[in-house]
């Protein structure tokens, strides 16, 4: 369960988990101990998500394709 600061932070999953935590907090009866740990996890996810949002520059790469244009395959009807 020890999640290290992994570089491949999955933003969509983080938001999903946050949604889940948020929903959990909407429940009438909540356990205060569980609440505290969920609260900490929530704040951590929010922090990480905000960090991800700071990386704003887009990367743009053009794909260099290798056309099969060199060889022309021809076949004939029988």
């Amino acid at each position: 369960m020890n999640e290290k600061e992994d570089k491949s932070f999955d933003f969509a999953k983080a938001i999903e988990e946050l949604e889940e935590i948020n929903r959990w907090f909407q429940n009438e009866e909540i356990d205060l101990d569980a609440g505290l740990s969920k609260f900490r996890r929530g704040l951590e996810l929010i922090k990480k998500s905000r960090e991800r949002l700071k990386q704003v520059e887009n990367e743009f790469k053009e794909i260099k394709k290798e056309f099969g244009g060199e060889e022309i395959l021809t076949e004939e009807p029988e």
Partner: protein, 521 residues
């Protein structure tokens, strides 16, 4: 190709490969082999002549013109007249030799379909000009024909792309069709409707087949033309959210577009499976220019893609088959950019709201528990207070009732008093009236009383006279006597007395007693 030419071609090819290596690009990107063979054939000696060669655009001319001309002019081989070699070909070899020359002559030809002869998996047809007598024998594989969604009919105007070729078995000259395009709005519309119907039946537009787009996509494959506005529109409106965009340049118009686009879609699926969304886009245009996007081949490629595809083709009112098959259909390139970037735009607020939510809720719950504890303590007191206040209330309500009825009584007394005062007024007048009448009577009485008095006096006098007459003492005066016995009883008959009995005599003045001696009856 004769030996001279073959040598020259080889030289040119080597030079081309060197240039490509220097530039770090693929040889075909410098010059296509077909261009090399055309240069070999025509041997242009000036830039102008070179410029006329197909495939030598301005860019290539300035970049590569020099080395080509150097190769031509510097090569003494090329300037020597061709030596016709006495080579004897077999038929098959010769046809191969000719086809080698013919096949690279790719071309687009427009004309009207005339005769059609369909076999199982291919079709022969002729293409003719409208007014001039000229016939081109065409050959097309059935699968190609189907992928363009064109149904051949006599008189149908077509644009075909392909290459010339001699078929060995029959020795006929044919144009092998690789791409077909319809000409004219009417035909295009008809083809569009027919394909739409067919694909609908085959379930290409089924909503259940559509793949969802990840809400926070990062890796995007962009398939469009490097020259089009669509690319810039898309990139400008995507915003900066750390997207990784892989751009695949394709033609978005013309007969080659279909192949390039389907290859692009396939390429992403085969080589970049981690791309989360493909965006296939181009700007608006006529039905004819959008034709590739109404082809069955592109519909199939989109349908087969494992990566979800967003299409944004043309203006909002352009409906294409590609849009219908796509997982998400954006109206414009800008719209496609928004679909991918809006979640990122909104997530900032979402994060803040989650933050406030969980902080306040946790705090509330904590406060709640504190509240509950305090509530437990104060419950006893409050219970008692409640009882007291309940009692108090009852007493107060009784008190209120009492006061109320008291007021009611006072009201009644007041009413009675008022009634009494009213009645009293009436009674007073009655009494006054009575008193007056009594006064009147009194006066009358006083007047009469003297008269009555006198009358009474007279009658009294009369009664006195009569009384005087009946008084026994008066009789005694006249000499009469009264005899009593011892018992003082008046004796009126001799029967009342006995001989020897004492009797008393009464006179007017005085009396006497005697004895009876003899009785007379």
């Amino acid at each position: 190709m004769n030996k001279n030419n073959q040598n020259f071609y080889e030289l040119l090819r080597q030079r081309r490969n060197e240039v490509a290596k220097e530039a770090g690009i693929k040889p075909y990107m410098v010059l296509h082999n077909s261009v090399l063979s055309e240069i070999t054939e025509k041997k242009p000696t000036t830039i102008e002549e070179l410029g006329k060669i197909k495939g030598m655009g301005k860019k290539r001319l300035t970049r590569y013109g020099e080395f080509i001309l150097e190769a031509i002019n510097g090569s003494s081989v090329t300037l020597t007249p061709e030596i016709f070699e006495e080579k004897v070909y077999s038929v098959s070899e010769f046809i191969d030799f000719i086809n080698e020359l013919l096949v690279p002559k790719r071309a687009i030809v427009q004309g009207e379909v005339n005769q059609i002869k369909s076999m199982n998996n291919y079709t022969f047809f002729t293409l003719v000009d409208k007014n001039i007598e000229a016939v081109l024998n065409c050959f097309v594989w059935q699968s190609k024909l189907e992928s363009f969604g064109v149904e051949l009919k006599e008189g149908l105007e077509l644009k075909i792309e392909g290459f010339p070729k001699i078929f060995k078995r029959k020795g006929g000259f044919n144009f092998e069709v690789e791409h077909i395009g319809l000409v004219g709005e009417g035909a295009l519309k008809q083809a569009f409707e027919a394909l739409k119907k067919k694909l609908a039946v085959d379930g290409y537009f089924g909503l259940e087949r559509k793949k969802p787009i990840l809400k926070y996509s990062e890796r995007i494959g962009l398939i469009t033309s490097v020259y089009g506005d669509a690319k810039n529109d898309f990139l400008t409106h995507l915003g900066k959210f750390g997207f990784k965009i892989h751009f695949y340049n394709v033609r978005v118009e013309g007969l080659y577009a279909i192949d390039e686009i389907t290859s692009a879609i396939r390429w992403f699926n085969e080589n970049m499976g981690d791309v989360e969304a493909l965006v296939l886009t181009r700007g608006g245009g006529s039905l004819e220019s959008l034709q590739p996007f109404n082809s069955e081949a592109i519909a199939k490629a989109i349908f087969a893609s494992k990566i979800p595809i967003i299409t944004a083709i043309g203006h909002e009112n352009n409906e294409t088959i590609a849009d219908l098959v796509a997982d998400v259909y954006a109206s414009t390139p800008t719209d496609a950019a928004r679909i991918l970037s809006d979640p990122w735009r909104q997530v900032q607020d979402l994060l803040s709201s989650y933050e406030t939510n969980i902080i306040t809720i946790l705090k509330d719950k904590y406060d709640n528990i504190e509240e509950k504890l305090t509530a437990f303590g104060s419950n006893f007191v409050s219970a008692i207070n409640m009882v007291i206040s309940f009692r108090k209330e009852r007493v107060e309500s009784l008190q209120r009732a009492l006061i109320l009825s008291f007021y009611r009584i006072i009201d009644r007394i007041k009413l009675t008093e008022r009634n009494f005062l009213n009645n009293w007024e009436r009674l007073r007048t009655q009494i006054l009236t009575l008193r007056q009448s009594v006064g009147n009577q009194e006066n009358t009485l006083f007047k009469e009383i003297n008269r009555w008095f006198r009358v009474l006096q007279v009658s009294l006098d009369n009664v006195e006279e009569k009384l005087k007459l009946s008084d026994p003492t008066g009789r005694l005066k006249q000499g009469y006597s009264i005899i009593f016995n011892i018992g003082n009883k008046v004796i009126k008959s001799s029967k009342q007395i006995n001989v020897g009995e004492e009797i008393i005599l009464k006179f007017y003045e005085g009396g006497a007693s005697t004895r009876v001696e003899k009785k007379k009856i």
